[in-house]
Subunit: 332 residues, 2 copies
Protein backbone atom coordinates (compact mmCIF):
# COMPACT_ATOMS: atom_id res chain seq x y z
CA UNK A 1 0.00 0.00 0.00
CA UNK A 2 1.45 3.42 -0.93
CA UNK A 3 1.67 5.95 1.88
CA UNK A 4 1.02 9.67 2.16
CA UNK A 5 3.35 11.54 4.51
CA UNK A 6 3.34 15.12 5.70
CA UNK A 7 6.47 17.15 6.34
CA UNK A 8 6.03 18.51 9.88
CA UNK A 9 7.66 21.87 9.08
CA UNK A 10 6.26 22.78 5.67
CA UNK A 11 3.05 20.77 5.71
CA UNK A 12 4.17 19.44 2.32
CA UNK A 13 2.78 15.99 1.49
CA UNK A 14 4.64 13.34 -0.42
CA UNK A 15 3.65 9.93 -1.74
CA UNK A 16 5.83 6.98 -0.80
CA UNK A 17 5.06 4.62 -3.63
CA UNK A 18 6.65 1.42 -2.37
CA UNK A 19 5.21 -0.52 -5.27
CA UNK A 20 7.68 1.31 -7.47
CA UNK A 21 10.50 0.66 -5.03
CA UNK A 22 14.01 -0.03 -6.25
CA UNK A 23 17.35 -1.05 -4.84
CA UNK A 24 20.14 1.54 -5.05
CA UNK A 25 21.79 -0.32 -7.90
CA UNK A 26 18.59 0.00 -9.92
CA UNK A 27 18.62 3.78 -9.88
CA UNK A 28 19.97 5.41 -12.98
CA UNK A 29 20.32 9.14 -13.28
CA UNK A 30 16.99 9.42 -15.03
CA UNK A 31 14.56 6.54 -14.81
CA UNK A 32 12.65 5.82 -17.97
CA UNK A 33 10.54 3.00 -19.20
CA UNK A 34 11.93 2.03 -22.56
CA UNK A 35 10.24 3.62 -25.54
CA UNK A 36 9.52 1.97 -28.86
CA UNK A 37 8.49 -1.62 -29.36
CA UNK A 38 5.24 -2.91 -27.91
CA UNK A 39 2.68 -0.23 -26.99
CA UNK A 40 0.06 -1.12 -24.36
CA UNK A 41 -2.00 1.94 -25.33
CA UNK A 42 -2.50 1.01 -28.99
CA UNK A 43 -5.81 -0.41 -30.29
CA UNK A 44 -5.74 -4.20 -30.22
CA UNK A 45 -3.76 -4.25 -26.96
CA UNK A 46 -6.70 -3.29 -24.74
CA UNK A 47 -6.26 -6.46 -22.68
CA UNK A 48 -2.77 -5.36 -21.55
CA UNK A 49 -4.18 -2.44 -19.55
CA UNK A 50 -6.61 -2.61 -16.63
CA UNK A 51 -10.24 -2.50 -17.90
CA UNK A 52 -11.31 0.92 -19.17
CA UNK A 53 -13.33 3.27 -16.95
CA UNK A 54 -14.44 5.44 -19.87
CA UNK A 55 -14.18 5.38 -23.65
CA UNK A 56 -15.69 7.29 -26.54
CA UNK A 57 -16.52 5.09 -29.51
CA UNK A 58 -17.79 6.72 -32.67
CA UNK A 59 -20.02 4.27 -34.52
CA UNK A 60 -19.41 0.58 -34.97
CA UNK A 61 -19.13 -0.01 -31.22
CA UNK A 62 -17.67 -3.44 -30.56
CA UNK A 63 -18.07 -3.17 -26.80
CA UNK A 64 -15.72 -2.17 -23.99
CA UNK A 65 -11.99 -3.00 -24.06
CA UNK A 66 -12.10 -3.61 -27.78
CA UNK A 67 -10.73 -1.38 -30.57
CA UNK A 68 -12.90 1.34 -32.09
CA UNK A 69 -12.41 4.01 -29.43
CA UNK A 70 -11.36 7.60 -30.03
CA UNK A 71 -10.33 8.35 -26.43
CA UNK A 72 -9.94 5.70 -23.73
CA UNK A 73 -9.41 6.08 -19.98
CA UNK A 74 -7.85 3.23 -17.98
CA UNK A 75 -6.47 2.92 -14.46
CA UNK A 76 -2.68 3.26 -14.40
CA UNK A 77 -1.10 -0.20 -14.29
CA UNK A 78 1.58 1.12 -11.92
CA UNK A 79 -0.47 3.57 -9.84
CA UNK A 80 1.11 6.06 -7.44
CA UNK A 81 -2.02 5.68 -5.26
CA UNK A 82 -4.52 2.82 -5.01
CA UNK A 83 -8.29 2.91 -5.01
CA UNK A 84 -9.07 0.23 -2.41
CA UNK A 85 -8.92 0.79 1.33
CA UNK A 86 -9.60 3.43 3.93
CA UNK A 87 -7.51 6.46 4.72
CA UNK A 88 -6.07 5.12 7.98
CA UNK A 89 -4.89 8.52 9.17
CA UNK A 90 -2.46 8.25 12.05
CA UNK A 91 0.35 9.99 13.84
CA UNK A 92 3.82 8.67 14.52
CA UNK A 93 5.20 10.94 17.21
CA UNK A 94 5.17 14.38 15.63
CA UNK A 95 4.69 12.97 12.12
CA UNK A 96 1.46 12.43 10.16
CA UNK A 97 0.76 9.71 7.66
CA UNK A 98 -2.18 8.08 5.92
CA UNK A 99 -2.71 5.28 3.45
CA UNK A 100 -2.03 6.10 -0.15
CA UNK A 101 -5.64 5.97 -1.24
CA UNK A 102 -6.49 7.60 -4.53
CA UNK A 103 -7.06 6.99 -8.20
CA UNK A 104 -4.44 7.18 -10.90
CA UNK A 105 -5.77 7.02 -14.46
CA UNK A 106 -4.37 7.32 -17.96
CA UNK A 107 -6.30 9.18 -20.64
CA UNK A 108 -5.26 7.72 -24.01
CA UNK A 109 -5.78 10.70 -26.29
CA UNK A 110 -5.83 9.04 -29.68
CA UNK A 111 -5.96 5.54 -31.17
CA UNK A 112 -3.05 6.54 -33.47
CA UNK A 113 0.30 5.79 -31.88
CA UNK A 114 2.08 8.60 -33.71
CA UNK A 115 -0.49 11.37 -33.35
CA UNK A 116 0.42 14.00 -30.75
CA UNK A 117 -2.07 16.36 -29.12
CA UNK A 118 -0.44 19.17 -31.10
CA UNK A 119 -1.25 17.42 -34.37
CA UNK A 120 -4.82 16.53 -33.46
CA UNK A 121 -7.68 18.66 -34.81
CA UNK A 122 -9.85 20.45 -32.20
CA UNK A 123 -12.72 18.05 -32.89
CA UNK A 124 -10.56 15.22 -31.55
CA UNK A 125 -9.04 17.18 -28.67
CA UNK A 126 -12.64 17.84 -27.63
CA UNK A 127 -13.02 14.21 -26.52
CA UNK A 128 -9.87 14.43 -24.41
CA UNK A 129 -11.16 17.50 -22.60
CA UNK A 130 -14.59 15.93 -22.27
CA UNK A 131 -12.98 12.86 -20.69
CA UNK A 132 -11.23 15.07 -18.10
CA UNK A 133 -14.59 16.52 -17.13
CA UNK A 134 -16.41 13.20 -16.95
CA UNK A 135 -13.70 11.50 -14.93
CA UNK A 136 -13.52 14.37 -12.42
CA UNK A 137 -17.31 14.30 -12.07
CA UNK A 138 -17.25 10.55 -11.46
CA UNK A 139 -14.41 10.63 -8.92
CA UNK A 140 -16.11 13.53 -7.12
CA UNK A 141 -18.71 11.02 -5.90
CA UNK A 142 -16.09 9.26 -3.78
CA UNK A 143 -16.13 11.11 -0.43
CA UNK A 144 -12.55 10.07 0.31
CA UNK A 145 -11.21 12.30 -2.45
CA UNK A 146 -10.73 16.04 -2.16
CA UNK A 147 -8.98 16.86 -5.41
CA UNK A 148 -8.40 15.51 -8.90
CA UNK A 149 -5.20 16.72 -10.58
CA UNK A 150 -5.22 16.38 -14.37
CA UNK A 151 -1.81 16.64 -16.00
CA UNK A 152 0.21 15.68 -19.04
CA UNK A 153 3.87 14.80 -19.49
CA UNK A 154 4.94 15.14 -23.12
CA UNK A 155 8.40 13.94 -24.10
CA UNK A 156 10.96 12.01 -22.09
CA UNK A 157 12.57 15.11 -20.64
CA UNK A 158 9.16 16.11 -19.26
CA UNK A 159 8.67 12.74 -17.60
CA UNK A 160 6.71 10.75 -20.18
CA UNK A 161 7.44 7.04 -20.01
CA UNK A 162 5.23 6.03 -22.92
CA UNK A 163 5.34 7.48 -26.42
CA UNK A 164 1.65 7.04 -27.25
CA UNK A 165 -0.13 10.35 -26.66
CA UNK A 166 -1.73 10.36 -23.22
CA UNK A 167 -2.49 12.48 -20.20
CA UNK A 168 -3.11 11.40 -16.62
CA UNK A 169 -5.14 12.21 -13.55
CA UNK A 170 -4.57 11.53 -9.88
CA UNK A 171 -7.41 11.76 -7.35
CA UNK A 172 -6.10 12.76 -3.92
CA UNK A 173 -7.50 12.49 -0.38
CA UNK A 174 -5.89 15.84 0.51
CA UNK A 175 -5.69 19.25 -1.12
CA UNK A 176 -2.38 19.72 -2.94
CA UNK A 177 -0.19 22.46 -1.53
CA UNK A 178 -0.18 24.36 -4.82
CA UNK A 179 -3.97 24.51 -4.91
CA UNK A 180 -4.12 25.56 -1.25
CA UNK A 181 -1.71 28.39 -2.08
CA UNK A 182 -3.65 29.51 -5.14
CA UNK A 183 -6.91 29.45 -3.21
CA UNK A 184 -5.36 31.40 -0.32
CA UNK A 185 -3.66 33.94 -2.61
CA UNK A 186 -6.76 34.55 -4.67
CA UNK A 187 -8.98 34.73 -1.58
CA UNK A 188 -6.73 37.32 0.02
CA UNK A 189 -6.92 39.42 -3.17
CA UNK A 190 -10.68 39.03 -3.24
CA UNK A 191 -11.07 40.11 0.36
CA UNK A 192 -9.14 43.28 -0.43
CA UNK A 193 -10.58 44.11 -3.85
CA UNK A 194 -13.87 42.17 -4.06
CA UNK A 195 -12.71 40.99 -7.45
CA UNK A 196 -11.23 37.75 -8.80
CA UNK A 197 -7.48 38.21 -9.30
CA UNK A 198 -7.56 36.07 -12.45
CA UNK A 199 -10.35 38.21 -13.93
CA UNK A 200 -8.22 41.27 -13.18
CA UNK A 201 -5.20 39.61 -14.81
CA UNK A 202 -7.21 38.88 -17.95
CA UNK A 203 -8.51 42.46 -18.04
CA UNK A 204 -5.02 43.91 -17.65
CA UNK A 205 -3.50 41.52 -20.20
CA UNK A 206 -6.14 42.37 -22.81
CA UNK A 207 -5.52 46.09 -22.23
CA UNK A 208 -1.71 45.92 -22.27
CA UNK A 209 -1.69 43.33 -25.05
CA UNK A 210 2.01 42.43 -24.66
CA UNK A 211 1.66 38.99 -23.10
CA UNK A 212 -1.41 37.77 -24.99
CA UNK A 213 -0.50 34.82 -27.20
CA UNK A 214 -3.89 34.23 -28.81
CA UNK A 215 -7.57 34.33 -27.93
CA UNK A 216 -10.97 33.38 -29.20
CA UNK A 217 -14.44 34.37 -28.05
CA UNK A 218 -14.31 32.40 -24.80
CA UNK A 219 -10.66 31.69 -23.97
CA UNK A 220 -7.35 33.51 -23.78
CA UNK A 221 -3.76 32.27 -23.70
CA UNK A 222 -1.14 34.45 -22.04
CA UNK A 223 2.47 34.17 -21.00
CA UNK A 224 2.14 34.97 -17.28
CA UNK A 225 3.85 38.07 -15.84
CA UNK A 226 6.13 35.91 -13.62
CA UNK A 227 6.71 32.69 -15.59
CA UNK A 228 8.80 29.88 -14.12
CA UNK A 229 10.16 28.77 -17.49
CA UNK A 230 10.61 30.18 -20.99
CA UNK A 231 7.33 29.95 -22.92
CA UNK A 232 5.21 29.10 -19.86
CA UNK A 233 1.59 29.78 -20.83
CA UNK A 234 -1.77 29.90 -19.08
CA UNK A 235 -5.07 29.18 -20.83
CA UNK A 236 -8.02 30.77 -19.03
CA UNK A 237 -11.74 31.18 -19.67
CA UNK A 238 -12.53 34.87 -20.22
CA UNK A 239 -15.72 34.60 -18.21
CA UNK A 240 -15.35 33.96 -14.50
CA UNK A 241 -15.72 30.32 -13.47
CA UNK A 242 -14.05 28.44 -10.66
CA UNK A 243 -14.67 24.96 -11.98
CA UNK A 244 -13.76 23.21 -15.17
CA UNK A 245 -16.63 20.80 -14.66
CA UNK A 246 -19.37 23.27 -15.61
CA UNK A 247 -18.15 23.50 -19.22
CA UNK A 248 -20.80 22.43 -21.74
CA UNK A 249 -19.91 20.78 -25.04
CA UNK A 250 -20.02 24.06 -26.91
CA UNK A 251 -17.44 25.63 -24.60
CA UNK A 252 -15.36 22.43 -24.49
CA UNK A 253 -15.06 22.64 -28.27
CA UNK A 254 -14.08 26.30 -28.07
CA UNK A 255 -11.45 25.37 -25.44
CA UNK A 256 -10.17 22.58 -27.69
CA UNK A 257 -9.73 24.99 -30.52
CA UNK A 258 -7.92 27.53 -28.30
CA UNK A 259 -5.71 24.86 -26.74
CA UNK A 260 -4.86 23.42 -30.14
CA UNK A 261 -3.76 26.81 -31.44
CA UNK A 262 -1.69 27.36 -28.28
CA UNK A 263 0.14 24.06 -28.68
CA UNK A 264 0.70 24.64 -32.39
CA UNK A 265 2.22 28.05 -31.68
CA UNK A 266 4.54 26.54 -29.09
CA UNK A 267 5.53 23.78 -31.47
CA UNK A 268 6.20 26.29 -34.23
CA UNK A 269 8.62 28.16 -31.93
CA UNK A 270 10.42 25.06 -30.64
CA UNK A 271 9.54 21.96 -32.64
CA UNK A 272 8.67 18.93 -30.52
CA UNK A 273 9.54 20.68 -27.23
CA UNK A 274 8.85 18.52 -24.14
CA UNK A 275 6.22 20.09 -21.90
CA UNK A 276 3.91 19.51 -18.97
CA UNK A 277 0.46 20.88 -18.51
CA UNK A 278 -1.76 20.87 -15.45
CA UNK A 279 -5.39 21.75 -14.90
CA UNK A 280 -6.13 23.87 -11.86
CA UNK A 281 -9.79 23.80 -10.96
CA UNK A 282 -11.51 24.24 -7.61
CA UNK A 283 -11.50 21.34 -5.11
CA UNK A 284 -14.18 18.64 -5.37
CA UNK A 285 -17.60 19.54 -3.95
CA UNK A 286 -16.59 23.21 -3.53
CA UNK A 287 -19.72 24.37 -5.31
CA UNK A 288 -18.31 27.43 -7.09
CA UNK A 289 -16.45 30.36 -5.54
CA UNK A 290 -16.05 33.97 -6.57
CA UNK A 291 -12.32 34.28 -5.89
CA UNK A 292 -10.87 31.31 -7.84
CA UNK A 293 -10.73 30.91 -11.63
CA UNK A 294 -9.91 27.61 -13.31
CA UNK A 295 -7.08 27.49 -15.85
CA UNK A 296 -4.47 25.35 -17.54
CA UNK A 297 -0.76 25.96 -16.98
CA UNK A 298 1.56 24.80 -19.76
CA UNK A 299 5.20 24.51 -18.70
CA UNK A 300 7.77 23.65 -21.40
CA UNK A 301 10.80 21.74 -20.19
CA UNK A 302 13.65 24.04 -21.23
CA UNK A 303 15.48 24.83 -18.00
CA UNK A 304 16.55 22.56 -15.16
CA UNK A 305 15.49 22.64 -11.52
CA UNK A 306 18.79 22.91 -9.65
CA UNK A 307 19.95 23.73 -6.13
CA UNK A 308 18.80 27.34 -6.10
CA UNK A 309 15.27 26.40 -7.17
CA UNK A 310 15.09 23.49 -4.67
CA UNK A 311 16.31 25.66 -1.85
CA UNK A 312 14.43 28.86 -2.50
CA UNK A 313 11.26 28.09 -4.42
CA UNK A 314 12.44 30.85 -6.78
CA UNK A 315 12.84 30.26 -10.50
CA UNK A 316 15.39 31.78 -12.85
CA UNK A 317 13.98 32.38 -16.32
CA UNK A 318 16.19 33.65 -19.14
CA UNK A 319 13.30 34.76 -21.37
CA UNK A 320 10.99 37.70 -20.52
CA UNK A 321 7.35 36.65 -21.12
CA UNK A 322 6.81 39.70 -23.35
CA UNK A 323 9.42 38.34 -25.75
CA UNK A 324 8.07 34.80 -25.50
CA UNK A 325 4.61 36.14 -26.38
CA UNK A 326 6.03 37.97 -29.37
CA UNK A 327 7.66 34.81 -30.67
CA UNK A 328 4.47 32.84 -30.09
CA UNK A 329 2.26 35.45 -31.77
CA UNK A 330 4.42 35.50 -34.87
CA UNK A 331 4.92 31.74 -34.96
CA UNK A 332 1.94 30.73 -37.13
CA UNK B 1 19.47 44.60 -15.68
CA UNK B 2 17.80 41.38 -14.46
CA UNK B 3 14.33 41.77 -13.02
CA UNK B 4 12.48 40.27 -10.06
CA UNK B 5 8.80 39.63 -10.63
CA UNK B 6 6.09 38.49 -8.28
CA UNK B 7 3.23 36.21 -9.26
CA UNK B 8 0.08 38.05 -8.13
CA UNK B 9 -1.74 34.88 -7.07
CA UNK B 10 0.94 32.84 -5.31
CA UNK B 11 3.33 35.60 -4.26
CA UNK B 12 6.03 33.47 -5.89
CA UNK B 13 9.00 35.51 -7.14
CA UNK B 14 10.98 34.71 -10.24
CA UNK B 15 14.14 36.18 -11.73
CA UNK B 16 14.01 37.28 -15.36
CA UNK B 17 17.66 37.08 -16.28
CA UNK B 18 17.65 38.82 -19.63
CA UNK B 19 21.45 38.66 -19.79
CA UNK B 20 21.07 34.94 -20.32
CA UNK B 21 18.38 35.47 -22.93
CA UNK B 22 18.13 33.23 -25.96
CA UNK B 23 16.18 33.04 -29.17
CA UNK B 24 13.78 30.08 -29.53
CA UNK B 25 16.16 28.33 -31.92
CA UNK B 26 18.90 28.44 -29.25
CA UNK B 27 16.90 26.40 -26.76
CA UNK B 28 17.77 22.77 -26.58
CA UNK B 29 15.94 20.34 -24.37
CA UNK B 30 18.51 20.76 -21.62
CA UNK B 31 20.85 23.73 -21.77
CA UNK B 32 24.40 23.01 -20.74
CA UNK B 33 27.67 24.78 -21.03
CA UNK B 34 30.07 22.34 -22.64
CA UNK B 35 32.19 20.38 -20.20
CA UNK B 36 35.79 19.41 -20.67
CA UNK B 37 38.46 21.54 -22.28
CA UNK B 38 39.45 24.89 -20.78
CA UNK B 39 38.50 25.36 -17.10
CA UNK B 40 38.12 28.93 -15.82
CA UNK B 41 38.18 27.68 -12.21
CA UNK B 42 41.59 25.98 -12.36
CA UNK B 43 44.70 27.59 -10.82
CA UNK B 44 46.57 29.63 -13.41
CA UNK B 45 43.31 30.84 -15.00
CA UNK B 46 42.44 33.32 -12.24
CA UNK B 47 42.32 36.18 -14.74
CA UNK B 48 39.44 34.53 -16.61
CA UNK B 49 37.05 35.01 -13.66
CA UNK B 50 36.00 38.28 -12.05
CA UNK B 51 38.46 39.25 -9.25
CA UNK B 52 38.12 37.09 -6.14
CA UNK B 53 36.14 38.33 -3.15
CA UNK B 54 37.68 35.77 -0.76
CA UNK B 55 40.42 33.14 -0.90
CA UNK B 56 42.24 30.94 1.57
CA UNK B 57 45.94 30.58 0.81
CA UNK B 58 47.99 28.24 2.96
CA UNK B 59 51.59 29.44 2.99
CA UNK B 60 53.54 30.86 0.08
CA UNK B 61 50.90 33.52 -0.58
CA UNK B 62 51.56 35.06 -3.99
CA UNK B 63 48.83 37.66 -3.62
CA UNK B 64 45.19 37.80 -4.78
CA UNK B 65 44.05 36.31 -8.10
CA UNK B 66 47.17 34.21 -8.33
CA UNK B 67 47.52 30.44 -7.79
CA UNK B 68 48.22 29.05 -4.32
CA UNK B 69 44.66 29.13 -3.00
CA UNK B 70 42.81 26.26 -1.35
CA UNK B 71 39.32 27.71 -1.70
CA UNK B 72 38.49 30.75 -3.83
CA UNK B 73 35.27 32.78 -4.08
CA UNK B 74 34.57 34.86 -7.19
CA UNK B 75 31.53 36.68 -8.53
CA UNK B 76 29.68 34.60 -11.12
CA UNK B 77 30.67 35.75 -14.61
CA UNK B 78 27.08 35.23 -15.79
CA UNK B 79 25.16 36.34 -12.71
CA UNK B 80 21.43 35.78 -12.27
CA UNK B 81 21.35 39.04 -10.25
CA UNK B 82 23.69 42.04 -10.32
CA UNK B 83 25.28 43.92 -7.43
CA UNK B 84 25.05 47.52 -8.69
CA UNK B 85 21.92 49.62 -8.55
CA UNK B 86 18.92 50.28 -6.36
CA UNK B 87 15.90 48.08 -5.90
CA UNK B 88 13.55 50.25 -7.95
CA UNK B 89 10.42 48.59 -6.61
CA UNK B 90 7.36 49.42 -8.70
CA UNK B 91 3.94 48.23 -9.68
CA UNK B 92 2.61 47.62 -13.16
CA UNK B 93 -1.15 47.50 -12.76
CA UNK B 94 -1.70 44.58 -10.40
CA UNK B 95 1.82 43.23 -10.88
CA UNK B 96 4.95 43.89 -8.78
CA UNK B 97 8.49 44.06 -10.02
CA UNK B 98 11.88 45.27 -8.85
CA UNK B 99 15.37 45.43 -10.26
CA UNK B 100 17.35 42.21 -10.11
CA UNK B 101 19.78 43.43 -7.47
CA UNK B 102 21.73 40.78 -5.64
CA UNK B 103 25.02 38.96 -5.54
CA UNK B 104 25.81 35.70 -7.29
CA UNK B 105 29.11 34.11 -6.31
CA UNK B 106 30.96 30.88 -7.06
CA UNK B 107 32.84 29.07 -4.31
CA UNK B 108 35.65 27.09 -5.97
CA UNK B 109 36.03 24.23 -3.53
CA UNK B 110 39.44 22.88 -4.50
CA UNK B 111 42.38 23.84 -6.71
CA UNK B 112 42.33 20.30 -8.14
CA UNK B 113 40.09 20.06 -11.17
CA UNK B 114 39.26 16.41 -10.57
CA UNK B 115 38.68 16.45 -6.81
CA UNK B 116 35.01 16.28 -5.82
CA UNK B 117 33.65 17.36 -2.44
CA UNK B 118 32.99 13.68 -1.71
CA UNK B 119 36.67 12.88 -2.19
CA UNK B 120 38.00 15.78 -0.14
CA UNK B 121 39.14 15.18 3.45
CA UNK B 122 37.22 17.07 6.17
CA UNK B 123 40.20 19.39 6.74
CA UNK B 124 39.72 20.71 3.20
CA UNK B 125 35.91 20.79 3.29
CA UNK B 126 36.36 22.96 6.40
CA UNK B 127 37.54 25.87 4.21
CA UNK B 128 34.50 25.53 1.95
CA UNK B 129 32.15 25.76 4.93
CA UNK B 130 34.17 28.59 6.42
CA UNK B 131 33.88 30.47 3.12
CA UNK B 132 30.07 30.09 3.23
CA UNK B 133 30.06 31.68 6.67
CA UNK B 134 32.41 34.52 5.80
CA UNK B 135 30.60 35.42 2.60
CA UNK B 136 27.19 35.44 4.31
CA UNK B 137 28.60 37.64 7.09
CA UNK B 138 30.04 40.06 4.52
CA UNK B 139 26.87 40.25 2.39
CA UNK B 140 24.78 40.77 5.53
CA UNK B 141 26.28 44.26 5.76
CA UNK B 142 24.47 45.29 2.58
CA UNK B 143 21.07 46.55 3.76
CA UNK B 144 19.50 45.76 0.37
CA UNK B 145 19.84 42.03 0.96
CA UNK B 146 17.49 39.96 3.07
CA UNK B 147 18.75 36.44 2.42
CA UNK B 148 21.79 34.55 1.17
CA UNK B 149 21.04 31.15 -0.37
CA UNK B 150 24.03 28.80 -0.46
CA UNK B 151 23.65 25.83 -2.80
CA UNK B 152 25.53 23.29 -4.85
CA UNK B 153 24.73 21.60 -8.16
CA UNK B 154 26.80 18.45 -8.64
CA UNK B 155 26.67 16.68 -11.98
CA UNK B 156 25.06 17.77 -15.24
CA UNK B 157 21.70 16.23 -14.41
CA UNK B 158 21.63 18.35 -11.23
CA UNK B 159 22.30 21.55 -13.16
CA UNK B 160 26.10 21.89 -12.96
CA UNK B 161 27.53 23.65 -15.99
CA UNK B 162 31.17 23.39 -14.93
CA UNK B 163 33.00 20.21 -13.95
CA UNK B 164 35.43 21.76 -11.48
CA UNK B 165 34.06 21.28 -7.95
CA UNK B 166 32.19 24.40 -6.84
CA UNK B 167 29.18 25.63 -4.94
CA UNK B 168 27.34 28.93 -5.31
CA UNK B 169 25.52 31.57 -3.34
CA UNK B 170 22.90 34.10 -4.32
CA UNK B 171 22.12 37.11 -2.12
CA UNK B 172 18.50 38.21 -2.52
CA UNK B 173 16.60 41.41 -1.76
CA UNK B 174 13.54 39.37 -0.73
CA UNK B 175 12.93 36.33 1.42
CA UNK B 176 12.60 33.18 -0.67
CA UNK B 177 9.20 31.52 -0.51
CA UNK B 178 10.69 28.28 0.84
CA UNK B 179 12.31 30.08 3.76
CA UNK B 180 9.12 32.02 4.48
CA UNK B 181 7.25 28.70 4.59
CA UNK B 182 9.79 27.04 6.88
CA UNK B 183 9.77 30.04 9.21
CA UNK B 184 5.96 30.10 9.26
CA UNK B 185 5.65 26.34 9.77
CA UNK B 186 8.20 26.21 12.55
CA UNK B 187 6.76 29.32 14.23
CA UNK B 188 3.29 27.82 14.23
CA UNK B 189 4.66 24.66 15.87
CA UNK B 190 6.55 26.74 18.41
CA UNK B 191 3.49 28.76 19.32
CA UNK B 192 1.62 25.53 20.03
CA UNK B 193 4.37 23.53 21.73
CA UNK B 194 6.93 26.13 22.89
CA UNK B 195 9.56 23.90 21.34
CA UNK B 196 11.57 24.01 18.12
CA UNK B 197 10.11 21.52 15.63
CA UNK B 198 13.57 20.61 14.35
CA UNK B 199 14.77 19.89 17.91
CA UNK B 200 11.74 17.64 18.33
CA UNK B 201 12.50 15.92 15.01
CA UNK B 202 16.08 15.25 16.12
CA UNK B 203 14.87 13.91 19.47
CA UNK B 204 12.35 11.58 17.84
CA UNK B 205 14.80 10.41 15.17
CA UNK B 206 17.43 9.57 17.78
CA UNK B 207 14.85 7.62 19.78
CA UNK B 208 13.33 5.74 16.84
CA UNK B 209 16.72 5.28 15.17
CA UNK B 210 15.29 4.14 11.82
CA UNK B 211 16.03 7.21 9.73
CA UNK B 212 19.38 8.19 11.25
CA UNK B 213 22.14 7.84 8.66
CA UNK B 214 25.10 8.82 10.85
CA UNK B 215 25.98 11.23 13.62
CA UNK B 216 28.88 12.65 15.57
CA UNK B 217 28.99 14.65 18.80
CA UNK B 218 27.53 17.82 17.27
CA UNK B 219 25.71 16.88 14.06
CA UNK B 220 23.22 14.34 12.80
CA UNK B 221 22.24 13.21 9.31
CA UNK B 222 18.76 11.81 8.77
CA UNK B 223 16.57 10.81 5.87
CA UNK B 224 13.53 13.03 6.53
CA UNK B 225 10.15 11.44 7.28
CA UNK B 226 8.62 12.92 4.10
CA UNK B 227 11.48 13.06 1.57
CA UNK B 228 10.93 14.51 -1.91
CA UNK B 229 13.42 12.16 -3.57
CA UNK B 230 15.10 8.81 -2.87
CA UNK B 231 18.08 9.34 -0.53
CA UNK B 232 17.14 12.91 0.39
CA UNK B 233 19.07 13.76 3.58
CA UNK B 234 19.16 16.57 6.10
CA UNK B 235 22.24 17.47 8.13
CA UNK B 236 21.38 19.33 11.34
CA UNK B 237 23.23 20.59 14.41
CA UNK B 238 22.10 18.63 17.47
CA UNK B 239 22.11 21.73 19.62
CA UNK B 240 19.52 24.36 18.81
CA UNK B 241 20.78 27.21 16.64
CA UNK B 242 18.92 29.26 14.06
CA UNK B 243 21.94 30.58 12.23
CA UNK B 244 24.82 28.92 10.46
CA UNK B 245 26.93 32.04 10.97
CA UNK B 246 27.51 31.47 14.69
CA UNK B 247 29.58 28.31 14.06
CA UNK B 248 33.13 28.57 15.37
CA UNK B 249 36.06 26.80 13.69
CA UNK B 250 35.82 23.83 16.03
CA UNK B 251 32.19 23.20 15.08
CA UNK B 252 32.84 23.96 11.40
CA UNK B 253 35.41 21.16 11.42
CA UNK B 254 32.97 18.82 13.12
CA UNK B 255 30.37 19.73 10.47
CA UNK B 256 32.92 19.10 7.71
CA UNK B 257 33.59 15.66 9.09
CA UNK B 258 29.87 14.86 9.36
CA UNK B 259 29.11 16.22 5.89
CA UNK B 260 32.02 14.29 4.39
CA UNK B 261 30.77 11.03 5.87
CA UNK B 262 27.26 11.78 4.61
CA UNK B 263 28.45 12.36 1.05
CA UNK B 264 30.67 9.29 1.14
CA UNK B 265 27.74 7.13 2.25
CA UNK B 266 25.59 8.50 -0.57
CA UNK B 267 28.35 7.90 -3.09
CA UNK B 268 28.85 4.35 -1.82
CA UNK B 269 25.14 3.64 -2.43
CA UNK B 270 24.97 5.26 -5.88
CA UNK B 271 28.42 6.06 -7.23
CA UNK B 272 28.77 9.56 -8.67
CA UNK B 273 25.08 10.35 -8.25
CA UNK B 274 24.15 13.93 -9.26
CA UNK B 275 22.82 15.94 -6.33
CA UNK B 276 21.93 19.38 -5.07
CA UNK B 277 22.38 20.70 -1.58
CA UNK B 278 21.05 23.88 -0.02
CA UNK B 279 21.76 25.63 3.25
CA UNK B 280 18.71 26.88 5.12
CA UNK B 281 19.67 29.38 7.78
CA UNK B 282 17.70 32.26 9.27
CA UNK B 283 17.33 35.49 7.26
CA UNK B 284 20.04 38.16 7.47
CA UNK B 285 20.01 40.37 10.60
CA UNK B 286 17.39 38.15 12.27
CA UNK B 287 19.48 37.92 15.41
CA UNK B 288 18.62 34.37 16.47
CA UNK B 289 15.17 32.85 16.96
CA UNK B 290 13.90 30.01 19.11
CA UNK B 291 11.65 28.38 16.52
CA UNK B 292 13.98 27.96 13.53
CA UNK B 293 16.95 25.58 13.26
CA UNK B 294 19.53 25.82 10.47
CA UNK B 295 20.28 22.76 8.36
CA UNK B 296 21.49 21.46 5.04
CA UNK B 297 19.17 19.60 2.67
CA UNK B 298 20.83 17.19 0.24
CA UNK B 299 18.62 16.20 -2.71
CA UNK B 300 19.95 13.52 -5.10
CA UNK B 301 18.73 13.83 -8.69
CA UNK B 302 17.10 10.44 -9.22
CA UNK B 303 13.52 11.22 -10.15
CA UNK B 304 12.11 13.78 -12.53
CA UNK B 305 9.81 16.71 -11.81
CA UNK B 306 6.88 16.14 -14.13
CA UNK B 307 3.35 17.44 -14.56
CA UNK B 308 1.98 16.10 -11.30
CA UNK B 309 4.76 17.70 -9.27
CA UNK B 310 4.48 21.02 -11.14
CA UNK B 311 0.75 21.11 -10.68
CA UNK B 312 0.38 19.91 -7.12
CA UNK B 313 3.58 20.67 -5.21
CA UNK B 314 3.41 17.00 -4.18
CA UNK B 315 6.30 14.63 -4.77
CA UNK B 316 6.17 10.93 -5.59
CA UNK B 317 9.06 9.02 -4.05
CA UNK B 318 9.55 5.32 -4.76
CA UNK B 319 11.89 4.70 -1.80
CA UNK B 320 10.75 4.87 1.86
CA UNK B 321 13.28 6.89 3.89
CA UNK B 322 13.65 4.03 6.38
CA UNK B 323 15.00 1.84 3.60
CA UNK B 324 17.19 4.61 2.23
CA UNK B 325 18.65 5.07 5.73
CA UNK B 326 19.35 1.37 5.99
CA UNK B 327 21.21 1.36 2.69
CA UNK B 328 23.16 4.45 3.72
CA UNK B 329 24.03 3.05 7.16
CA UNK B 330 25.38 -0.14 5.67
CA UNK B 331 27.16 1.57 2.79
CA UNK B 332 30.57 2.20 4.38
Amino acid sequence: MPELRRDPVLGRWIIISKERRKRPSDFTIETHTSLGGFCPLCPGNENTTPPEVLAYRLGGDRGPNKPGWQVRVVPNKYPALVIEGDLGKEGEGLYDRMNGIGAHEVIVESPNHDESLTQMPPEKIFFVFKAFKERIADLEKDPRFRYVMVFKNYGRAAGASLEHSHSQLIALPILPRMIVSELAGSLSYFQYKERCVFCDIIRQEMQQDVRVVCQNEHFITITPFAPRTPFEMWVLPKQHSSTYCKLDDFHLLSLSSQFSETLRRLNACIPNVPYNFVLHTEPLRFGGVEHFHWHFEIVPKLTSIAGFEWGSGFYINPLPPEEAAEYLREAL
